[in-house]
């Protein structure tokens, strides 16, 4: 049963294919960390009011931008169908999510994860491609590259257009970079978003969202047609508040009994010891204890 010399030579020549065969299954195993499928959001009314910057490590420039924002800006023709930046689309606006993979036909390796949500749609490139240069176009979806850390998909997004952190005017600059960590806990998918924004934040801002596995889910269409200029907001008018002139800025703090200073956020307000500090702060006379009803 001894192999002929020729066959032995053939086997010696075959060491490279053998090595490749050995490597291939080991690389593909982690493709079985299956993030794909339909995911239903579990976000319970994270509505924020104007003037609510609580828990956000916002800086003075960020406060100024937020203070001058007017809710009617969303009715401008260019804003009506404006999509969310990818992270606010996943965190703040409850969004059904569908995750799929894109394969390289030759290698059967995952080239990208495709995240499709009601509000946002983006790719996470897994093939090691570099991020484009700074001068490249910025988009609502940004540009994302990912890698695995243990059982967590980690991706970094930049090249975002200027957008928002909240739906009530806290701005996100085009310089922002977002690190997203996606971990599947059985039938729960949790994403952790860490936002760096040198323009409007003093330190990274961290927040989370979860989805439940829901294979029967159907993501609705998002039909949207901009109205002609002047249809809602008078033509040529851009609603805004001049600095110091926002007369509803303290309504949130007043109605909830929060010290106005605390409502303006900042990194210090995120620590437990800030609770003691708040006890020394003045609170505006409350006008209601039923404010929450407006949110429900």
């Amino acid at each position: 049963m001894a192999l002929s010399e020729k066959s032995q030579r053939q086997i010696r020549k075959a060491w490279l294919p053998l090595l490749l065969l050995l490597i291939s299954p080991a690389r593909s195993l982690w493709a079985q960390v299956d993030l794909t499928g339909e995911w239903s959001p579990r976000i319970y009314n994270d509505g924020r009011d104007i003037g609510d910057y609580t828990g956000i490590p916002i800086n003075d420039a960020g406060r100024l931008r937020a203070e001058t924002w007017h809710q009617d800006q969303m009715d401008l023709p260019e804003s009506v169908c404006r999509p969310h930046s990818f992270d606010i689309g996943l965190r703040v606006a409850p969004a059904q999510l569908y995750i799929s993979t894109q394969f390289d036909n030759a290698t059967q390796q995952i080239v990208a994860y495709h995240f499709h949500a009601y509000w946002s749609d983006f790719m996470v490139w897994m093939d090691g491609r570099p991020h484009p240069p700074e001068y490249a176009a910025h988009k609502w979806s940004g540009f994302s590259t990912g890698h695995w850390e243990g059982s967590t998909l980690v991706f970094i997004t930049d090249h975002l257009k200027e957008g928002y952190i909240t739906r009530t005017g806290v701005a996100l600059s085009e310089k922002a970079k977002v690190t997203t960590r996606v971990t599947r806990y059985g039938n729960i998918l949790t994403m952790v978003f860490i936002i760096e924004d040198p323009a409007y934040l003093t330190e990274p801002y961290i927040r989370e969202s979860s989805w439940a596995y829901d294979p029967q889910q159907i993501i609705p269409a998002f039909p949207c047609e901009p109205l002609p200029e002047g249809a809602i907001v008078p033509a040529g008018h851009v609603p805004s508040y001049l600095p110091g002139k926002n007369d509803i800025l303290t309504d949130f703090a007043q109605e909830y009994g929060i010290p106005p200073e605390a409502a303006l956020g900042g990194a210090e307000t995120t620590h437990p010891d800030y609770i003691k500090k708040m006890k020394q702060m003045k609170v505006l006379p409350r006008t209601t204890t039923k404010h929450y009803i407006r949110q429900g």
Binding site: D34, D46, E149
Partner: protein
């Protein structure tokens, strides 16, 4: 014939390569899934402890960083402010009867510090191994202690308490445990799922060990999901997932909590909390349970 013989030789060689590849590939996979081999009996189960197979080091001091739901966590919300909680009608009815003075008088000021809510209460954690299969978490807010039992510990005859009985396991250490249902049921009844074993030794990817801590808690005294009397019942089950990572020079611990309570909740209630690692115990500030304070 010479050509045919050569082809035969090549075929034999390639067949041998294929067989060897399959055999060695299988061996490599078996090595990668060493824990399965161990679980099947080649190594005594007692050789593995929860501490020895831990994919993450959760020990140390951690501080809450409250970046969301701030008004519900850093303050005591107003009565009936439960817009973020999927209460059923009975849950809403009970929440509307909240009376903190009555709780204080009845010696039940700790109702807002139970396992279903304690991760939401701003404060600090001290996590350490009580023994090789028991992870302990001391919490300065309300001066509470949680015990996470690994290795299939049983809750038989356990008296209901604020922190209940917690069964822990390392999950997600293997790719196939990430498939649907691998981490136990979430939406179909909230039973203990697969938790209870020590967990398999982790694999590595990207230089990071795969896996997270899963904790399932029941045997709870009825308590509050929020400090303003939003109730959970003695029938509640709490599933938690603890995950540690580093980012921007900080070490973070993120906890995803799923509370299932058929008595007061219309559906499982999911919350998150994140904690930043502290260098030491400075700032540790034990407080008593207080019904009218945020912590």
């Amino acid at each position: 014939m010479a050509t045919s013989g050569r082809r035969n030789g090549e075929s034999a060689a390639w067949l041998l390569v294929a067989v060897l590849s399959l055999a060695l590939g299988t061996q490599a996979m078996a090595q990668g899934f060493g824990a399965r081999t161990e679980e099947s009996g080649t190594q005594p189960p007692t050789a593995r402890t929860a501490r020895s197979v831990a994919p993450q080091d959760l020990t140390g001091y951690w501080e809450s960083i409250v970046t969301e739901y701030w008004r519900l966590r850093m303050m005591v919300p107003d009565k009936s402010d439960y817009v973020t909680v999927p209460l059923n009608k009975e849950g809403a009815r009970v929440a509307d009867t909240w009376d903190p003075a009555k709780d204080e008088a009845a010696g039940e000021a700790c109702k807002g510090y139970g396992a279903a809510a304690i991760m939401q209460v701003p404060g600090r954690l001290h996590i350490y191994w009580q023994d090789d299969n028991t992870l302990r978490m001391d919490i300065d807010s309300g001066t509470q202690t949680r015990i996470f039992h690994f290795g299939g510990a049983s809750a038989a005859n356990e008296t209901a308490s604020w922190q209940g009985f917690s069964v822990a396991s390392w999950e997600g250490t293997r790719p196939d445990s990430q498939r649907a249902g691998g981490g136990g049921p979430i939406l179909d009844g909230g039973t203990a799922g697969t938790a209870g074993t020590v967990g398999a030794p982790p694999e590595e990817l990207g230089g990071v060990r795969a896996g997270y801590l899963k904790v399932v808690t029941n045997h709870l005294r009825p308590g509050y999901l929020q400090k303003n009397g939003v109730p959970y019942s003695a029938n509640a089950t709490v599933e938690e997932y603890f995950d540690r990572f580093a980012d921007h020079g900080n070490n973070w611990l993120v906890v995803t909590t799923v509370v299932t309570d058929p008595q007061y909740l219309a559906e499982p209630f999911i919350t998150h909390a994140h904690f930043k690692k502290l260098a030491d115990n400075s700032g540790w500030d034990p407080t008593p349970c207080r019904a009218t304070e945020a912590r």
